[in-house]
């Protein structure tokens, strides 16, 4: 059946492309999972105070807390179906130390009316780009938080790190959560704006 063979060849080409993309994103997932800061952020899900959290809740990217020695993440519900996911108002906040395991805490946020806040992932971002950019956020976070803690004007290398953090964060952060990210620590985002020239919009 020559026609079948031709079609199957087309399938094979399409599939190879898909598999290649999948394998590529898999490598970035593995690298992200191996990042110690990412692992610590993930571990907050099991912290005291969060043990009873619904397993469906998504976790945000970390944002430096005041002082730059600890990071905060939000947990939020989302409505997901294939090809579409909407973030709802966050319900839990966890804080963990930038270094070491001390000071980890997790608690439900005060109850508030839940709203659909927007998309859970930026439009048009491939799986590979998503995991690559997310890894870049985690890799740039320690330097960013340290610079924020110190205050003042960063040197050229510090500026590069800050710009990398700002660009990666904005590329990969949940669009629906931007306001909540800002409200986690407005002082940090305004400092980033003044230091790196790029930040989240005020909320």
């Amino acid at each position: 059946m020559p026609i079948t063979i031709r079609k199957n060849s087309l399938f094979a080409v399409a599939l190879l492309a898909a598999l290649s993309s999948c394998q590529d994103s898999g490598k970035w997932m593995d690298r992200l999972d191996a990042d110690p800061l990412h692992a610590r952020a993930d571990a907050t899900r099991r912290a005291a105070g969060c043990a009873n959290m619904a397993l469906e809740l998504g976790r945000s990217l970390p944002v430096p807390e005041h002082g730059g020695t600890s990071l905060a993440v939000l947990y939020y519900p989302s409505k997901s179906e294939p090809g579409r996911s909407i973030v709802l108002t966050p319900t839990v906040k966890a804080v963990f130390a930038l270094e070491g395991a001390a000071g980890e805490r997790c608690a439900a946020l005060p109850k508030s009316p839940s709203k659909e806040l927007g998309a859970a992932a930026p439009d048009g971002l491939s799986m590979t780009a998503y995991y690559r950019d997310q890894l870049a956020v985690y890799q740039a976070l320690p330097a960013t938080a340290a610079l924020y803690g110190k205050g003042g004007t960063p040197d050229a290398e510090g500026l590069k790190s800050l710009k990398s953090f700002a660009a990666s964060f904005q590329a990969v952060a949940e669009p629906g959560l931007r306001g909540d990210y800002y409200r986690l620590n407005p002082e940090f985002w305004e400092w980033l704006r003044s230091a790196a020239g790029s930040s989240l919009p005020k909320a």
């Binding site: 993930d42 319900t91 799986m127």
Partner: protein
Amino acid sequence: MSREIVALLLLLASPFAASAATEDAVGGVPTSVLSGPDVEKSALGPLTWTVPCKFAHAGGQAFEGTVEEYHCDYILASLKDPVGQFTRLPTLPAQITFLQSTKWAARAAKEKAKTETEALLKKTDPKTVDAKLAPADRLKAFMALSDEVAKGVEICKPFLWPAREATSYLEKTHGFWPESWKPCMSPFYDRWDELSGLIKPLEKTVIDYSSLAAAARLRAAERNAEHKTPAAFPAFVPGGKGAARQLDKLYDGGETAKEPDEFADPEAAAPGKGQYVLAAPKKISDLNLAPPPIPEEGEARSRRNYFARGYQEALTRLTDERRIAYWHATGQTATVGDPEGRSSLTIRQQGPTCGVAAQYQAMKARGLSVTMTDLAKEGLAKGYYSEYMERDGGLEGGTPSDQMNHLLTDHGVRSRYVASTTPEALTESIRVGGDALVSMQTKRLWNDPKLSDGSGHTVYVTGAEVDANGKTRGFYINDTGTGEAKRFVPIEQFLRAWKGRNNTAVLFDANNDPKK
């Protein structure tokens, strides 16, 4: 001044209101957009608004003005508590002024929506797809157009009220789109129907092609078996003493396991003296051919719901199934569990009930007579499950990790919640108990760029594909989030999706029939 009144005044001060006032002044348009009595001099009482679009004066007199449905839709979609705000306006003239100004805004929004609707319908016209394209490419193109039609919701947004209903067993809502959306959305509904009519037969064609490809590959394997030595048989199972017996012992009833005297080919050269090697089958009937890997069109195929996650993921699934057919035929793997039999247990969940739905399937598999509605209600009452409580806040939305099996326990099904476990333990649970539940990272499981990485999902694991060395090559799942049954998830992808939830699972032991 109340916040509502301020909001109304802001609305009146909008560009639409300003242009209405100006045009009225110059006389370019009818001076009263609401044909009716001279409201300034009217002795009639203020208006009462009955949703969707009925107005009457206090005291019951009919309102002589004309307010069209799209006008009401616009106000209802634009304002929070529109009827309350309207009712609280202090005088009839204030109400009329409000209606006049919003009518202009509604008309402008309607014109804009009309232009954008025409553009989107033109863009998604199926005739734009080249009829000479191969079926797979046409399918891909039509599916892309169908996704594009979803932008109609954004176009119609100024007129869409109430919000699309949530899905909930408790509220008995199914996510339907409100009737009030029809006036604006009907051209898009029609386009979806049109595209759906083109997509369905093409999906069938693509699956049929894949099935043919699987058969062709098996025929090639048969030819290899007839004409070539086992050593040349591609990717054959690695030999080893007692491999088949070991399989038999490990996986009762596994199709791969054969006694050596039934299966050994004396002419096949064993790589080492005294070692038993799974020999190459001589003809297709000797192959360990499971039931057709890709079922004929019908209920079994429909349950698999290949295209639930889009075109590319469907191709991946079909290829996985062709690969499994080849593994079976060449004796490389055996299926542990009964993923085909349990595929009939899958459902499409409503609301964040994946954890409940996974337990539901495990109960049904053990012959319990339960319904999702009853289990969701029971879970909510006992604190094992929470809905998205959008109106009152305080939401959680789902099942707490450590309560993944509490409904099972309460219904007499013995199981073990394990905060972290291994794929081997999962396979063992399937072998002895028939199934398992796992918590996964949805984005990685669905390979879906539109999802965030953190969100989680529980799925029902119904089988494993295991090789002669006891190594699991992947698991079969029923996924109530997509409505896919018997989806094979290759081990690398499975582990990546599982790791994000710390390899959490609910495992079963033998003899866990709740009726005993």
